[in-house]
Amino acid sequence: MKVKVKLYATFSRYHPGTLAGTPFEVELPEGSTLRDLINHLEIPESEVKVCFINARIQDLDTRLNDGDEAGIFPPVGGG
């Protein structure tokens, strides 16, 4: 299956050459979870703070479906 991925803030270094938030496609085996996606991208799990699937915050055990949009963030804050 294919999912659309957006990496933010310091995570753009795991997909260099594009502005943070620019979507790219990743092919994963059926049944993969958010954690599988993060491992596939070689992002250390301990650095991940908030993940979205289709605009909803989800935990790392959440299963992905074909065509899902995932957004992955390190800790961010502001005001």
């Binding site: 943070a20 605009a55 961010v76 804050g77």
Partner: protein, 584 residues
């Protein structure tokens, strides 16, 4: 510690010891209590009976980190209720070092179109001199700060108002210098700039030379607390050097709010802006890197800050367009207007700084004007022209300067994002329910800083709660509002909350710092009680001013129009909104 009262009717002043009642008040607690005690709730905000009150926080001016906040209070011309707005600046630290716990501006001159400045120095106690400021009016603030520094010397701190305040706009802030003498740090919300200008006051220049500094009752305890606070700020991923805020500034939030479907777009018609990544903190960082040939981390707005979140936006030729472009401003003048040209966005921000406008209120006003068809969404050049109209004081500019609600009324628009007359900032209540409760119930009108439930609802700070669910959110907002009223009195920047809400020793450190300064034995429970008392005082003033719980509601369209991408409305029951203060 002193109270300095300046009477602008006859240009006299009085220095007294701090009255007993106010000995344990500072910052917001002090400004709100003085306003509640001394300002008639039904007075005209721009008339002689309103007062403008300045107070730095408990630990401002000490070596406590990230603690140079100055609170400004009065009756707001925008909301008609009580107002406290605060900013980070050396001006706050200087006022505290001169041992001025409260600076109270009273009265009104009979002379029209004349402006004065105050030059406050230390001469065994605070000393006030008046100077003619009329020649500095009707000019961009970036043009008048250099001659003021030339006149009074490099070491002074400068507070001022811009043309927007001189015209009496309900959208006008009180401006302070940053560390590079830029007029850029605003107590922006609620129109307190116009209150200052209504008193014929253009500048307050502080020269702290010779001042004794802040007295600390228990130095050992203060040091202990300060170290814990420093450790928390240096450790937490959001606040540490080269962490999120230091690298990408507050505009780091553009992408996460967009991802959450909660970034208000094109006058609150969507929670997503397709071009959001182009105006985000990451884009500002990368653009600067391209244009300056190196990575540029952010700077401090005020002395002693560890977080250092203030960015600068550079033009293609490497010159500075503006500093600082905050999340709120990148949103209000960007996504909210459908604008993604970063250079034009930075210019809009700079014009607000130059004319003395609040960036949030300006962006939401232009959003309503775009909805009315005055100019098209996305037209950044036309938006720049409208801000110039505001700065010049044309008829259209004056309508816009009166704020979002007035502009909506003038053009017959129903989608007007305001609560109690003040516009809603950069978090969509239909996608993030807790912050909607804060907007509805805050004593300040719509104000994200009043009870920042975004921390657990979106950012995963202090736990995680579902942003789309209304469950338990009244209690959450109430707790945040009370704690915030205390932090706003401490002198610390609210951003310490990211660290101390996650790191318990940092929270303890804040209490120890303050107990060290005051010689008190306050506990964590006292913090919440103190904050709740401040809220009650503010609430009582508002009720006497005619702002009752009927005003604790979001605009009607938010209950009726589903917001993409979640297609949800604001579904928090009125009873839950009423419970915020009923159970305080």
């Amino acid at each position: 510690m002193y109270f300095v009262r300046v009477n602008m009717t006859d240009r006299t002043y009085q220095v007294t010891e701090v009255p007993e009642k106010y000995k344990y008040f500072a910052g917001r607690a002090l400004t709100s209590n003085v306003v509640a005690d001394e300002v008639p709730p039904l007075c005209h905000p721009l008339g002689p009976n309103n007062k403008l009150v300045f107070s730095a926080g408990f630990v401002t001016g000490t070596s406590a980190p990230t603690a140079a906040r100055i609170s400004v209070g009065g009756k707001s011309p925008l909301t008609g209720g009580i107002k406290e707005a605060n900013a980070g600046t050396s001006w706050g630290a200087d006022l505290a070092n001169m041992q001025i716990r409260g600076l109270i501006i009273e009265g009104q001159p009979k002379e029209k179109d004349q402006f004065w400045g105050l030059h406050i120095t230390w001469d065994g106690k605070p000393k006030v001199e008046f100077f003619d400021a009329t020649p500095y009016t009707k000019q961009p603030l970036s043009a008048v700060y250099p001659p003021i520094y030339e006149k009074f010397g490099d070491r002074v701190s400068v507070c001022s108002v811009g043309a927007a305040a001189e015209y009496g706009y309900s959208n006008s802030g009180v401006c302070f210098n940053d560390q590079s003498k830029r007029p850029s740090r605003y107590a922006g919300r609620g129109g307190l700039g116009a209150v200052m200008a209504s008193k014929g006051l253009k500048f307050i220049v502080l020269d702290r030379q010779g001042a004794p500094g802040v007295e600390i009752a228990d130095k050992a305890l203060f040091e202990e607390g300060r170290k814990k606070m420093i450790d928390a700020l240096r450790t937490h991923a959001i606040t540490k050097p080269k962490g999120g805020l230091n690298s990408y500034g507050t505009a780091i939030l553009i992408n996460i709010m967009n991802e959450a479907g909660g970034l208000p777009t094109k006058n609150f018609t969507s929670g997503r802006f397709e071009e959001a990544p182009k105006i985000a903190g990451e884009a500002i960082f990368e653009t600067n890197k391209d244009r300056k040939g190196k990575e540029i981390f952010n700077h401090a707005c005020s002395p002693g800050c560890i977080i250092q979140c203030s960015n600068t936006v550079y033009a293609e030729d490497g010159s500075e367009i503006t500093s600082c472009l905050e999340y709120e401003s990148a949103w209000s003048l960007g996504a909210n207007l459908g604008i993604s040209n970063l250079d034009d966005l930075a210019m809009l921000n700079q014009l607000c700084n130059d004319y003395g406008l609040d960036t949030i209120e300006t962006g939401t006003t232009l959003g309503v004007a775009m909805e009315a068809g005055v100019i098209p969404f996305g037209d950044s050049k036309a938006a720049i022209n409208l801000v110039h109209e505001m700065g010049k004081g044309t008829t259209l500019g004056r309508i816009l300067g009166a704020g979002t609600e007035t502009t909506g009324r003038v053009y017959g628009i129903t989608r007007v994002p305001t609560v109690k007359g003040q516009s809603i900032p950069a978090y969509e209540p239909r996608a993030v329910k807790g912050i909607g409760i804060t907007y509805a119930t805050s004593t300040m009108g719509a104000d994200h800083t009043a009870g920042y439930t975004i921390a657990p609802e979106i950012l995963g700070v202090m736990g995680k709660v579902d942003p789309l669910s209304p469950e338990g959110k009244a209690a959450l907002s109430r707790a945040f509002q009370a704690t915030t009223a205390f932090i706003d009195s401490s002198g610390h920047c609210l951003f310490i909350a990211f660290a101390i809400l996650d790191i318990a020793s940092g929270y303890q450190g804040m209490i120890e710092e303050i107990n060290g300064v005051l010689g008190t034995n306050w506990t964590a429970d006292d913090v919440v009680k103190f904050g709740a008392e401040v809220l009650k005082v503010e609430r009582k003033f508002n009720e006497a001013a005619g702002i009752t719980k009927a005003a604790d509601r979001l605009p009607e369209f938010m209950k009726q129009e589903p917001l993409p991408p979640h297609n949800t409305v604001f579904d928090v029951p009125d009873e839950a909104l009423d419970a915020v203060f009923a159970e305080l």
